[in-house]
Amino acid sequence: MSDDVQARIATAVNSADVLLFMKGTPLFPQCGFSSRAIAILEHLGVEYATIDVLQDPGIRQGIKEFSDWPTIPQLYVKGEFVGGSDIMMEMYEAGELAELLDDKGVPHA
């Protein structure tokens, strides 16, 4: 894995309070798991940025090494890896995702 890709990912995860690496875009997710992740973020009413890994094979592979997590989507809050769509759903249902945003000082609905 090139250090350049890892450096780009590190910059990206710190560039937005809430960042989702996904397949496709919020309007046109290309995978059910990414679609579910977007739906959760929309329900939370939080401002978020996304990166479409399908547009960048380096990032698509590199993000899995960055987080040591084999699947996409991947959610980052304030630069910290939170989990994939299953973990997002469990946390959302338990109210833990809203709590995490509160703890990190990220505004949401």
């Binding site: 997590w69 084999p70 699947t71 996409i72 994939g84 299953d86 973990i87 469990e90 946390m91």
Partner: protein, 77 residues
């Protein structure tokens, strides 16, 4: 090349012998599964690390051969 549900279950149980594993073939196509894994080994771990144990059990197939596995983990009551 999809994986059979029995193969997924066997790999998880090989790594986590006490695990109760319930696998559902979501689309009936042998390619989209959901798995619920209950094991004492998850105790004290974050959700991320609980899932990592299952991913490790699947030996790198997750995100590769096994694209669509919806996973939930829990500790026995």
């Amino acid at each position: 090349m999809p994986m059979a549900a029995s193969e997924i279950e066997a790999m998880i149980k090989a790594a986590l012998p006490d695990a109760q594993v319930e696998i559902t073939d979501l689309a009936g196509d042998g390619d989209h599964y959901s798995a619920r894994v209950v094991s004492e080994s998850f105790r004290g771990l974050t959700r991320i690390n609980q899932q990592r144990l299952v991913y490790d059990a699947l030996g790198g197939r997750m995100g590769g051969v096994l694209h669509a596995l919806q996973l939930s983990t829990a500790i026995p009551d």
